[in-house]
Amino acid sequence: MQVRKAVITAAAPRQNRLPLQQLVDSSGEDKTALQLIVDETAAAGIEEICLVIRPEDQQAYELAAGPHLAAIQFVHQPEPLGYADAIHRAADFVANDAFLHLVGDHLYVSSTGVPCAKQLVDVAKEYKCSVSAVQSTRESMLPYFGVVSGPRLPQSQQPKSQRLYEIEHVIEKPTPTLAEQELVTPGLRSGHYLGFFGMHVLTADVMSLISDLTRGDLASGDLASTSNGNKPCLSDAVAALPSRGRYLAHQIEGTRYNLGVKYGLLKAQLAIGLSGRDRDEILVGIMDLLSNRVEGQNVECTA
């Protein structure tokens, strides 16, 4: 299986401006978040990118894409009809090929030297099936993620360094009550689940599943009805994947940073900075900041 295409979604309300933010990458160069995401895909061997955006944002995105603009094809989602719909807009672009999917408001920092997207694409190529990147997620974070569960692949079927799971269930933003009943994964600490990392390699099957979903064809047994919102999301569609073939979860060695949360951009910048050339400079800056902090400043401690 070859993975040469990527679909990046950036059309969700309140998230559509995030990829346009300016940051400094690990080598000290100024880049937009979009450029960093595209860099991540390029490192995984992606050649064509489809960016799903709101029509009115296209000009800004063209500017933010910088040197990658030629590889990017823009697709519009005029109405906010949900995450699944956004991906489905790229159906023509995807055609019958497997594709890497990333969300536009996340940045990733690998802890191994192999970029996160490349780790995932390598697994998909090896096992020739859909693979979602996951990370161990504490139950207090369940309201923010899709969560999967299933048995870990036997050691004999995977290299020692990999942590792969055969996905059986996918539930979007489960309550801890449901998670404890349906989504406990052996090997994780108690109260921890496999939460989506915001990065997937999907076969073109997913497009037909999304069509079924938006037409209401998916049976409730496919767990499509478990997401609480009215608009279908990706989890609802991929929940039906295990019944159609192999679907794996790969516990990525790396960290993802959500730019859309409070101080998300700051944390992402620090993480990228600390992993690169300017690490010492940043650390000195932080120390300086801490030592010069005016005591008695009105800092409320909630803990």
């Binding site: 504490r138 139950e139 009805s225 909630t302």
Partner: protein, 1105 residues
Amino acid sequence: MHRLIEIILSDDESIRNQSLEAVCEGLSLESLLLAAAELDQFRRQEKNLYFRVRALFFLAAIHRYHLPNRLTPDHQGLIPFDGYGHLLSRRFLEAIDVFLQTQATSGPSDGICSALAEAYHKLGFQTLADQVRASVRGVRGNQWMFRIGHPDDHPLRIRPELLDIDPETGASPLIRECTAVRMDFSHSAWSDIFFLGMDYPQGARVVNVSVDLGVRGRDPHPVPPIETFLRIIDVPVIRLTSVDLGVSAEVESITEMFDFARDYLGLLKAAVIAAGIVPPGLEGSDAKISDLLSRLVGPGRGIELVSKINDIPKGSRLAVSTNLLGSLISILMRATGQVQSLQGTLTEADRRIVAARAILGEWIGGSGGGWQDSGGVWPGIKLICGTQATEKDPEFGISRGRLMPVHHVLTDDELAKESTRERIQDSLVLVHGGMAQNVGPILEMVTEHYLLRSDKEWAARQEAMEIYDEVVAAIRTGDVRRIGELTTRNFEGPLRAIIPWSTNRFTDRLIEICRDQYGDQFWGFWMLGGMAGGGMGFIFDPKVKEEAADWLSEKMVEVKRSLDTALPFAMDPVVYDFSINDNGSFAVLLTGENAIMPDRYYALVMPELLRTPLRELPPGRRSEMAQVASRIEGNQGSDTAKMLVRGLLPSVESSQAKQETLPEILDQCGFDRQQHETIREDLLKGRIGLASNRLASSTTITDVRPQDVIDLRGKIDQKHVVLGSRAIADGQVAVITLAAGVGSRWTEGAGVCKALHPFNRFAGRHRSFLEVHLAKNRRIAQQHDCVIPHVFTTSYLTDGPIREYLACNDDFGMPQVHLSTGRSIGLRMIPTERDLRFLWEETTQQVLDAQQQKVRESVRAALIGWARNSGQASDYTNNLPRQCVHPVGHWYEVPNLLRNGLLHKVLTQQSDLKYLLLHNIDTLGATVDPGLLGHHIDGGAALSFEVITRRLEDRGGGLALVGGRPRLVEGLAMPTEDTEFNLTYYNSMTTWIDIDALLTSMGLTRSQLDDSAKVDQAVRQMANRMPTYVTLKDVKKRWGHAQEDVFPVSQFEKLWGDMTSLPEIDCQFFVTPMQRGQQLKTQSQLDPWKRDGTADYIDSLCQWD
């Protein structure tokens, strides 16, 4: 390995189900002690909880029932106080070690046996409770709530639909959940106790049905009796309202949410916690509810939760509170997405998690129920069965069965074509008999009996299981007549055999009259839940059902009236209309102008809202008031308006039967206001009080020597028997039974007349204490061919009921029955904080299981607040008048005989009368025993007191040497708590009185008894020499629909045993057998009392006709 251990360990059911009795029978004292030692060793080492528990119950039973019979009077010993201290503090292992050590050094004794029995028994139940708690916490879907320690970690979010405020009305969407209650056809002999289901899953089977209810004649048609409401509000608090209990509160801190007894909202709080809104892991956190809510619902927003029960009183045996808890949990779980559907019915998976949370909620709230109780959450008729634990279950490897049973709802295809449900509705008359008893002790007895597997009870359990199968078959075929036969057979057979206390005189009487009235058309009686007396079913031929329902509703009230003073009724009986509910718990989402709370809610909260200036109300409240106003203007307005006005304006009491007022009663009974004021002043100044009851700590109190008592436990010599018999035959003796008290401990403050309580079946029917005492008198009188006058002393509280009871029964055919009417009465007072704290903080108290103890501490804090706010030592008047007055101690009851002229009258009728046998109403073994009377005559003492050796439960004083003189010292007067534990003998209160010697000690003669002035003066003089004790008693206050609150109140008393402290009165002390002197103080003693053979012994003393 001992045979008992083989029984415990065996996989072979025929061995495992053998009874303890079968093994113990024929064992000598030594072999039994060896068996106990082996079992004790076994339970120390055994890892399996269920094996350990059974060993513990075997040990408890050996020490309670089997060892004492094998001990002789030589086996005597004291109970070590430090062991008792461990026991009270729930350090059972340490307590057992201390008691065993004493047994090893001083040999076995009745006292040590009683202490070990209690310690093993409590350790057994503690072990079980710990396991159930662990299992409840371990249920998947419950565990996460114990891990959340900070509001920032809260993983739940409110469903977005609930945040959509209607732009037109400003109303927040409102969820309304309606839930049924459950009615059980058969519970296979209480097999829904958690422990039973987990140990014996194949025997744990229940069939129950969800029903809607309406009060016959009041409600137009049956509706789901439970309604709960939830909405998001614009104030960051959790607002809890119980419409039925008339209380609403805004919870602002996490600590407050865990304070269950602060108000009447404990159940709602338990639901909020068990539903994970305020997860149990947050207990002890000082965080604000607003922080938690801002994560859960959004900043500045809160949650309002309202419960409403359609006036179903407590004790309905329909599991109203568990189903209310289920309903509240369901609505909260819907709102937070833990239950899939926001509206409509629940899925099976959802119902199971709601039920698991309800079990958790009951544990958190310190109450308990069976696993079938949340049956109202399910629809229709269902079979609920225990099931084997498999590898996937947290119980696997610990217990045979799972905590959570499996529910199977019977579909229409599984029921008869012509609907079973309609046939049941056409035949069953569902009633609430009016009794609201605590079923907890019964469930403990069932557990104990199950573990001991005594032959009779085990056979009964097997029969109950067969009946279950037959009931299910009859339900399937729709044969309601057969169901009636089976439920009656179940009730009169196995249920009564396992727990005789599951029925009572009231229920038996109702069944009798139904049989008399309707003969063959009365198809049967149906006991609901744990016991009869509250919710019950009567099955009639459909042809007469309607008529029978009307007839029964009148008759029940009539029978209740005849037993009103004997049994604790909480309300008048009612008949319900019912229909089978096919939805289970069902929710709808109301929006816009429909999103409005029920009228009764507004009747409750509107007065407070109207008092607040409009501008200070949050916008949500303002728009809500506008909505109420527009509803009043609309079609349904008049009902709403009436309800609101009723809430706003005071109502006029229109009670038809005018009750006597408290001042009238006090006036009538010669209440001594002056003495009362003196006591109040002394109490307030601290001159008297619980602490001051005690003798000075410098007083030397030691155990009596052998020469200070006369041991009459063995055979009494013929000389004394002849002497006594002759005196009886010559008419020299009369019996005085003290019956002025209301038995606060017996009924936990319900204020009924203990003497009239039909507590046990003798010779085919329930008999009261009074009847037992007369039957003993009849037997002795017949044996001696004479008449023994029998006097019952009464007080204001008991005189009328006893008089009426005796008149109705023609004095039970006895020739000389007299009532000595009390002449003294006290007015109860609000306790002082000092006394409450002394009782709860400075005396050793029984610590409860962790969660129950938390609840108790919260209750106590609330009661101290109550005492402070109501005015310490002020008169207690906020209750029924008869609950505000109290008898002033049994010392007064003998002088009363003199003051009211009764003694004079009896002596005039029977001039040969020389001796009196005085005893308490609850000392059932006290008889006019010729041998003991002979000893009394021969000894020549004024008073001969009977004492018994002390058991653990015998607290309240004893026989001691004080300053070298033997006397009885009341428990209240013991200088330190451990003093009592150094005394071998306990005062049974039974006293032989030499009339002339007593009169002499008072400065009177027989001839002066008609001189009331002289008698009054003599009594007053003696009264002044008697110490006055302050005590705290529990009193129940009833309100609402069979709700009860228990308050501690102060009262004072003078006690008869203090007569032994007067130097001029010559006293002697007889040691008598345990069974003669044993007293029944609490109803929890009844079961062991019957099982250890004492009931049969008492029966043998009686002549019933």
